[in-house]
């Protein structure tokens, strides 16, 4: 395989792609992106809903495609880390035509990969953020010749892209997994902090509405520890019920669309995670509730 590393939003122009494909029997071309914006929503799970339709890398006009589907030029082991929940924008050809991107899903390490991915260049206006193309040739012995041609073409097209060393598919897959794991880790962290802050904020607002109640409980004999336990338990119950409901409805939504489903342990750990973060986030509101001054809370104005 050949890797082409493009800086930022560099896209391979249509005619270049077409020329390369024609001259070198390109089997597969995959774009690796730092974000998922590049892939259309229809890509997710589409293989399940529709018979797999293959289009060529650099899409021919629609009429031509219709006349000869499926094109045999694309296939094999192309892969892509795809985040199921990512917001994605449509993918267009340079003619402004929406490209039909279809693939077969496969799960590796909690992520969805696509086999037989078909991809086309995107419009200038599209936020593609493609950082790398991977090209697989039909014959491995063509690689060095192809690299030369590709480099020359990129240079001629004045693209800020360079051809990297050939890679093994397994190494590439490992790299993509690692990249995705890192990305989801940092997202998880951001999510955790956001969830914690949200729980605290909601809890604080809630505790200000419940001053009277907390004051009454204190007067009737609730200790501060009792109130802390009350508020945290309520938060955890709400988070538990909420995240189970949320997980159930999103899984059934995915299922109804025929999308690939996340592994059960991924869902379960998500629920546990939300509950733990909620417990942490509930600490501040719980302490605030427990510190209520019963004399003030009960005073009839």
């Amino acid at each position: 395989m050949i890797r082409v590393q493009a800086s930022g939003n560099e896209r391979l122009p249509l005619d270049l792609c077409t020329a390369l494909r024609r001259s070198h029997g390109v089997r597969t071309m995959v774009a690796l992106t730092a974000s998922e914006d590049v892939f259309p929503r229809s890509l997710r799970g589409s293989a399940v809903r529709a018979p797999m339709r293959r289009a060529s890398l650099c899409s021919e006009p629609r009429a031509e495609r219709r006349s000869a589907p499926p094109s045999g030029t694309i296939g094999g082991d192309a892969l892509l880390a795809l985040h199921l929940n990512a917001a994605v924008s449509p993918l267009f050809t340079e003619d402004g035509e929406l490209i039909d991107v279809r693939g077969r899903h496969r799960f590796v390490g909690g992520m969805s990969f696509l086999d037989s991915l078909v991809l086309a260049p995107t419009q200038e206006s599209d936020r593609s953020n493609i950082v790398e193309y991977v090209v697989e040739l039909e014959r491995a012995d063509d690689i060095s010749a192809f690299r030369g041609v590709l480099s020359a073409s990129l240079e001629a097209a004045q693209l800020d892209a360079r051809v990297a060393a050939p890679v093994e598919l397994s190494l590439l897959r490992a790299e993509v997994v690692a990249r995705s794991v890192e990305q989801s880790r940092s997202r998880l962290l951001v999510g955790a902090v956001a969830t914690g802050l949200l729980v605290s904020a909601v809890g604080l607002v809630g505790s200000s509405f419940r001053r009277q109640e907390m004051g009454r409980r204190r007067v009737l004999g609730a200790s501060q520890a009792w109130l802390v336990i009350l508020v945290s338990t309520e938060a955890v119950l709400a988070a538990g019920v909420g995240s189970v409901l949320g997980a159930t409805s999103s899984v059934s939504f995915l299922a109804s669309r025929g999308d690939a489903l996340p592994a059960p342990d991924t869902v379960a750990s998500g629920v546990v995670f939300v509950v733990i973060v909620t417990l942490l986030g509930a600490v501040v509101p719980a302490l605030v509730s427990a510190a209520v001054d019963p004399a003030k809370a009960l005073r009839v104005p």
Binding site: V219, L220, G221, A222, A225, W226, A295
Partner: protein, 219 residues
């Protein structure tokens, strides 16, 4: 029968102010109440009756002087000690009934049992009986919002008396009640004193104050 209240409530030269700069609301006050006695705190509005009651209810801590309840200074112990004293030995009645509107009247009466370490198996039956004795005729499952002000105050009274507390603290308990309910509340409170309990009432109702063993005028 209320359990032992030996030592009563004793305030020795107690001073309290909400802020250190301002004049104290309670200034160098000494007073004590023993089991089987009642104490009326009388004075104009804003004179500090509620404040004194909150000091006895252990919500406020004296700035200086000593307060003992049943012979010990509760401020030498932690929040758990003071809370358990409140939940199992003190009953509170307020001018405003302060009920939980989301729960039935029976559950309101039983609320203090939530905070106790033990709950008698007959608590619910006792609470229902007490509600009936106090003239609450609505079904026990009603919410307080469906009751009249007088009925709500009866429920609050039942909540205060249900655990047979040795101390009852009442803040303007007859504040805005009709005559019949007022009489019922007065009878119930002073009837409870006869069982050996301590009653402290903050009130500007001089008739009510006259029924008490002792009166303290606050200015």
């Amino acid at each position: 029968m209320p359990s032992d209240a030996v030592g009563g409530i004793r305030l020795t030269r107690v001073t309290f102010g909400y802020s250190s700069g301002a004049d104290p609301v309670v200034d160098d006050l000494s007073v004590s109440v023993n089991p089987g006695e009642s104490l009326a705190l009388v004075g104009e509005s804003g004179s500090g009756k509620s404040t004194l009651l909150y000091l006895m209810g252990l919500f406020l801590r004296p700035t200086s002087g000593e307060l003992t309840v049943f012979g010990t200074n509760p401020w030498n112990y932690g929040d758990r000690y003071r809370s358990s004293l409140r939940s199992s030995r003190v009953g509170f009645v307020f001018q405003d009934a302060c009920l939980d509107e989301r729960r039935s009247i029976l559950d309101n009466v039983l609320e203090p049992t939530l905070y106790r370490s033990t709950r008698s198996p007959s608590a619910a039956d006792d609470a229902a009986k007490l509600l009936r004795d106090l003239g609450v005729t609505s079904p026990m499952t009603r919410r307080p919002t469906q009751l009249s002000g007088g009925q709500m105050q009866r429920v609050a009274l039942a909540r205060a008396l249900a655990g047979e507390p040795v101390v009852v603290l009442a803040d303007e308990p007859t504040g805005n009640l009709d005559l019949r309910t007022r009489q019922l509340v007065v009878d119930a409170l002073f009837g409870h004193v006869k069982t050996g309990a301590i009653l402290v009432i903050a009130t500007h109702d001089l008739e009510l104050a006259a029924l008490s063993t002792q009166q303290v005028r606050i200015s």
